[in-house]
Symmetry: none
Subunit: 224 residues, 2 copies
DNA sequence: ATTGTTTGTAGAATTAATTCTACTGTTATA
DNA sequence: TATAACAGTAGAATTAATTCTACAAACAAT
């Protein structure tokens, strides 16, 4: 391997950033795609200058690694191969209250960004963001020394909490994939009525379509 | 930025690979996630030593860039923000018959690997592969070696594997919760056509509604 | 070489679903 | 207590989506 290629990478490709000699962040990346892990790691190393970065691919490894080493920052995807990290986040939060967590997910920030706040997570970054914003976010995240005092979990921001009884009733059928006509027959309502209520459900939850509604419901553990 | 960090990256993290001084590959990466692009680029630069790499994020940019510069290798994801690259691949193949193409996708090889072969693409790499395999595949790709057959994957019962290219293309939109009308507009098809194809998708997968289809897709890791 | 099957595409007819409007109770709230 | 926001329900009009049929081209199997 040639140093020239390296310097090329360095000087031409990436903005130089001075490092802060005082801080010693220890970062753990949890993502099931090695390319994402690698890219993120190299990125943080080359652009932000922090080199103490480990990676894991599964929830299992994540928990083990957190026990083994004392990390200051955790960057993780929501979905790993062996499960949903949202399930383990409450535990992590309880055991490691000072750990800074950044969720780095495929999902758009508008929906999940707010949603994960319930779990006491203050940093959310979509994988779809551009490079500029990504670096900025990462920089803010890692340089932020003060552990985030999270305004205690409002269950008020659960969008499903605001649904009226009839709306929840119809939500139940909608989440099962049942169509407007069948729902109206089941509940002895006109299709118009069901449609109206569905519209209100979508308004209140800010879901754009069934797929998003199902995802949101999963996120908030709505089983109805 | 310190050279020590770089060397650390080099010597500790990545296997050294000798480069071939004769070849001068010019590589274009098309992916809508800047992290993937960056990671891939750095990876190829640092581990394989090829530094002539450009990146684009959309189908549009891709086509423009191919006109502007003469590339030898193209690495691309199937889904970009402004469309499905399966739509443009036939055109690319026709205009640039000598261009080596590697599809680098989230989808498991069993499903899209076959579909993509119909377009004369022999290199397919899932983003879920481990680092070793990724580097090996990239190396073979860039060095123009014949790709190895991966017959190790069985999954005979995967219902998505029987979907035709157009069906997979429409499946992509359906799984995102996009409606028939919008799909038809995106792909310049009549709504009837989209409906017909959706019907065939539901028949082949035995899904009864979108919810079931999404569940099935999740089960078989056909997310995008 | 022939025949059956899959794929990609729609037109016509029909059905499903939504939107816009509106009315009546009910429940907070100023 | 007056008043505004919300909840539950539809009619009329409109739009979205499906079904049924069909046909040509590509492909597979005999």
């Amino acid at each position: 391997m040639e140093i020239r290629a390296l310097m090329n990478v360095l000087t031409n490709e990436l903005p130089a950033v001075k490092l802060n000699p005082v801080m010693q962040p220890k970062i753990l990346i949890a993502d099931d795609h090695s390319m994402i892990r690698k890219g993120l790691k190299l990125h943080v190393q080359l652009t932000l200058g922090f080199t103490d970065i480990d990676e894991v691919a599964t929830c299992n490894e994540l928990m083990k690694e957190l026990v083994k080493n004392k990390y200051t920052h955790l960057i993780l995807d929501i979905i790993l191969s062996d499960g949903n990290t949202l399930e383990v986040i409450p535990n992590i939060r309880r055991v490691y209250p000072d750990l800074n967590i950044l969720v780095f997910s495929m999902q758009p920030a508008e929906i999940y960004g707010e949603a994960v706040k319930q779990y006491g997570i203050n940093y959310y970054m979509s994988k779809a963001v551009g490079e500029e914003e990504m670096i900025q976010t990462l920089q803010k995240f890692i340089h932020n020394e003060t552990p985030h005092k999270r305004t205690d979990i409002h269950h008020q921001d659960n969008p499903f909490k605001t649904l009226a009884p009839r709306e929840l009733e119809i939500l139940h059928y909608v989440l099962k994939g049942i169509g407007t006509k069948e729902i109206s027959e089941n509940l002895n309502l006109k299709m118009n009525t069901v449609s109206t209520i569905k519209t209100r459900i979508y308004e209140k939850t800010n879901a754009g379509n069934i797929k998003e509604l199902i995802e949101l419901a999963t996120l908030y553990n709505v089983n109805y």
